[in-house]
Symmetry: C2
Subunit: 356 residues, 2 copies
Amino acid sequence: MKKHNYSAGPCILPQEVFEKSAQAILNFNGMDLSILEISHRSKEFVAVMEEARALVLELLGLQDKGYQALFLHGGASLEFLMVPYNLMKENGKAAYLDTGTWASGAIKEAKHFGETVLVASSKSDNYNHIPKQYVVPTDADYFHCTSNNTIFGTQMKEFPEIGIPLVCDMSSDIFSRKLDFSKFDLIYAGAQKNMGPAGATLVVVKESILGKTGRHIPAMLDYQQHIAKESMYNTPPVFPIYASLLTLQWLKKMGGIEAIEKLNDAKAQLLYDEIDRNPLFKGTAAIEDRSKMNATFVLNNEVHTETFDKLWKAAGISGLTGHRSVGGYRASMYNALPIESVQVLVDVMKELEHKI
Amino acid sequence: MKKHNYSAGPCILPQEVFEKSAQAILNFNGMDLSILEISHRSKEFVAVMEEARALVLELLGLQDKGYQALFLHGGASLEFLMVPYNLMKENGKAAYLDTGTWASGAIKEAKHFGETVLVASSKSDNYNHIPKQYVVPTDADYFHCTSNNTIFGTQMKEFPEIGIPLVCDMSSDIFSRKLDFSKFDLIYAGAQKNMGPAGATLVVVKESILGKTGRHIPAMLDYQQHIAKESMYNTPPVFPIYASLLTLQWLKKMGGIEAIEKLNDAKAQLLYDEIDRNPLFKGTAAIEDRSKMNATFVLNNEVHTETFDKLWKAAGISGLTGHRSVGGYRASMYNALPIESVQVLVDVMKELEHKI
């Protein structure tokens, strides 16, 4: 029996992605070869890469708007330094919003390259909300924010209107909700939440913002090089990209972002309603900033911990333990998690209430 | 029917790696979860990472000698810049040997960081041999070389004795032959030849050479950070690392590097003997520098190209076309290629001889 997988990432992917990618490892595309042993320059893999890049732009509504989609190595953590390398001028500065562990990791790396302006931070409240009413300096080279904070269960609902390039780490909520993606100049995301398995990194960049820093950029860190080589500057992570394509194809078949957002809204409502109703639990994030991807909550009385943990584990739930920075529980409800799994969790929360 | 896969990389892996990794995608380790959906912090994946890191050192004979094995993102191309970032002092210099396309790519990236001394190059001969008799400056911060040149079919048989750190890109021949690996201070390799599928990168580094440059190194490019985080500074490429572990386990079961080298020697001898005997063909690399991984050869008379291409394709051979820089043919005979596949190629070469 498959588990109800609430893992924060790497995380649940659609079952058909597992089945099709396992088949491709045995025999890809009728080639009598494994996807793991073919050249990345083969026409079969070039077709995978091209379809994946095009499908990203299609799903985000960014075709023919001057954007390029790239599948790179390194995870979002490598983007933390590629962003300033490519966008921060020599002796320039960049503005950052600090909403959690990953945002502050991005700031730390940017400091190697020049001045960083911290426009706001919710660190002193253990990142339990998204700062608002901040001012972004108009003379910064770009503004960087993190759309969803997996660890703290917060999510940006609005993005500032600014006159400088808007850069966003969307690792944990890309493809989960409708946004006007054309407001962003650079979006990046590690694959391992809503897009695919760990090992591939998506970058969506508006070409017109590149090439303006005066810096000499090592080739592997230079978005323009990756664009010129059609995302094959070096051997790409072939299998993670193929499994990402399968996930994107599944999303398109489901009706795209608009359709999946409705399901995500329903899942989040089901769980948050129970967190707010059930007297045994409380949410840890400010209500207006609650993430629809990661719901963080705690028991009001920790004495029930052992009983609750036994109940959810017995129900086939896995990955519900909260991050050590927050404690308690974290229910990650990515695109591929069925609402039935959320119902199982809600039932267990009700069961605990009746039991004690 | 499986093809005889001569692809230069990504390339053939052991059949049991395909079977076991496909199974792990459906249900890993009896967890009722896919290897693609589990947390990299789960005890099951931490065990994979630890076994892979330990097995690398065991197979190379480097346990308890002050080395660390890391599985990183980015491919060898990211190492081209991580090496100078970590080893070249501010205002320092590094010495490089230019033996082909990848060696020259490494040199190009190092130039962003300081002075590079080119100790020798075979570029003017289209890299058909390995330069010898060169002098490595003793005041350089390190010496960098490339052990095997896939495109040109050459391989270093000896490495210089120098008093400075010896760095080697072994992407295309690591785990294929016995060397005294303790003579090297830093070895790196993209996984996608003898170690696993594309998307993971191995770094084996002697810890004592690190931390001496005075540079501020971004965390994702800092070997000491990766060591401190036990190769989990950020989410690692989970599946490529798992498939690499399966490949390393297979190699150990086969008898390790010593045993596989004998098979590799037999395969190379079988093919080179035919290249030298058959009047229709000639090798393109200097005989004393011939690679046992990649044999490059051409038809003496190109008029036979169409006939030969039909013959090998009909025999179920794939991936034999040479790189555009050399032309002709390239037979990549990595660890997992069975000698039976080499015999099929030799038979086809003989068949061509009898046919015309």
